[in-house]
């Protein structure tokens, strides 16, 4: 929910200032020049903490997993496990347990947790951070609304995709596929094949990462716009809070759905890499 505190509204004097403040990363240059060598501390800390939290919780349950009557915690984890395993089983017909299924579980839970940070009231986060780091401290709580995160995941999957392609078909088989599918192995269609594959290899990580980023970023912007109602007084604040609650409820669907889509695409891409054309 986006209930803006009055003092936050005072710091951000204009609507664009308020939004800009909330959409700025806590960027720390790692060298003097900054540039590429900059780390978004907020994104990194939040994502690592969430990753450790969710996978750690699952690990705590998995460590004591019993084949007998499961505890409630184990039953829940097994529910998630079964859900992911079923999805992977339908798409990938190899030994999914060695890598792809656990990867899918990681992606789903991690992205879900990162997306869920959208539910934290943006101004509460800003309030806590300004309490510790001063009023101009910046902190973005949703790692998946940082394009670096989504690109990092999509490119990792992309690299895994190429890795599995070469591992399964061999380097020669992979290059052969680059030039000989989808239109066939005649020499005069090689350029067309290669162009197609090139576009595919470029578009996969782009669509994979930008879909998640776009959804999460847009969701965050809408929370901020609703937060602006607080600037219009008490009734506006209440109105904004109601709208924010509504958007939060709707956003539950988006958070889960985008995590699911991201996981499914990961599995599909990795499964496609295993198939020979």
């Amino acid at each position: 929910m986006a209930t803006a505190h009055a003092d936050n509204a005072q710091h951000a004097l204009t609507p664009s200032g308020y939004i800009e403040h909330h959409l700025s990363f806590n960027a720390q240059p790692m060298t003097d020049g900054g540039g590429f060598w900059t780390l978004h501390v907020d994104t990194f800390v939040m994502s690592v903490a969430l990753g450790l939290l969710v996978m750690g919780l699952v690990w705590l349950v998995a460590r004591k997993a019993t084949a007998g009557v499961p505890t409630k915690g184990q039953a829940f984890v097994e529910l998630v496990f079964g859900f992911i395993d079923d999805q992977v089983k339908n798409i990938f017909h190899g030994n999914r347990h060695s890598f792809i299924a656990p990867t899918a579980l990681t992606v789903f839970l991690w992205v879900f947790a990162m997306n869920s940070m959208d539910f934290l009231p943006v101004d509460w986060v800003a309030g806590i951070v300004s309490f510790f780091g001063g009023e101009h401290a910046k902190w973005r709580a949703v790692p998946t609304s940082d394009i670096n995160t989504t690109f990092a995941l999509a490119l990792s999957v992309w690299i895994l995709m190429i890795f599995f392609s070469i591992k399964v078909k061999g380097l020669g088989g992979w290059v052969h596929e680059l030039f000989c599918s989808p239109f066939g192995s005649k020499v005069w269609v090689w350029p067309a094949n290669f162009l197609f594959n090139l576009i595919e290899y470029v578009s996969k990580p782009l669509s994979h990462s930008l879909r998640l980023f776009g959804n999460m970023y847009a969701g965050e912007v809408i929370f901020l716009l609703l937060g602006l109602w607080a600037a219009t007084g008490v009734s506006g604040t209440i109105f904004g809070a109601i709208l924010g609650a509504g958007w939060s409820i709707f956003h539950i669907l988006i958070v889960a759905l985008q995590a699911f889509i991201f996981m499914m695409l990961t599995v599909v891409y990795l499964a496609m890499a295993h198939e020979s054309h």
Partner: protein, 156 residues
């Protein structure tokens, strides 16, 4: 929206998380679930086996029961037959015995009748002799004529 080192840091974090899950999270869960699945499958198989064994046993018991019933009815039939046979035999024996007794009785009666007849005859002859004696008191010598009189009595 600038691409920077965060991307690499996130990729590393992602790789570590995947490694962690592959190594520590997935296998124990999978093992637990697969072990349970096997246990359940084994249990179901055992139940199925038990059910079929029960079916076989039920069939067997039914067969045995039928056999026993058949045997029992056979035995009863035999016994009835034997009983009626015994009755028939007894009846036959009784008839023969009765006939024998009857024949004996008849023979005895005949004998008795003959004996009576004999008695009567001798009495009649005695009477006849006495009558004749009365008539012929003087002339007739009982000893001299007894042979003739007994011949006469035999003719009666």
């Amino acid at each position: 929206m600038n691409i920077n080192f965060t991307l690499i840091a996130q990729a590393i974090a992602f790789a570590v998380l995947i490694w962690f899950t592959v190594k520590f999270v997935w296998p124990p869960l999978l093992n637990a679930i697969e072990a349970r699945q096997k246990e359940i499958a084994d249990g179901l198989a055992a139940a199925h086996e038990g059910r079929s064994a029960l079916e076989v046993a039920a069939k067997k018991s039914e067969f045995t029961l039928n056999e026993a019933k058949q045997k029992a009815s056979e035995i009863i039939g035999q016994a009835e037959k034997r009983g009626s046979q015994i009755v028939e035999e007894a009846k036959g024996n009784a008839k023969v015995e009765g006939e024998r007794i009857l024949a004996g009785a008849k023979a005895e009666i005949d004998q008795e009748v003959n004996r009576a007849k004999e008695g009567l005859r001798s009495q009649v002859s005695a009477l006849a002799i006495a009558g004749a004696e009365k008539i012929l008191r003087k002339e007739i010598d009982a000893n001299a004529h007894s042979e003739m009189l007994s011949k006469l009595a035999a003719e009666l």
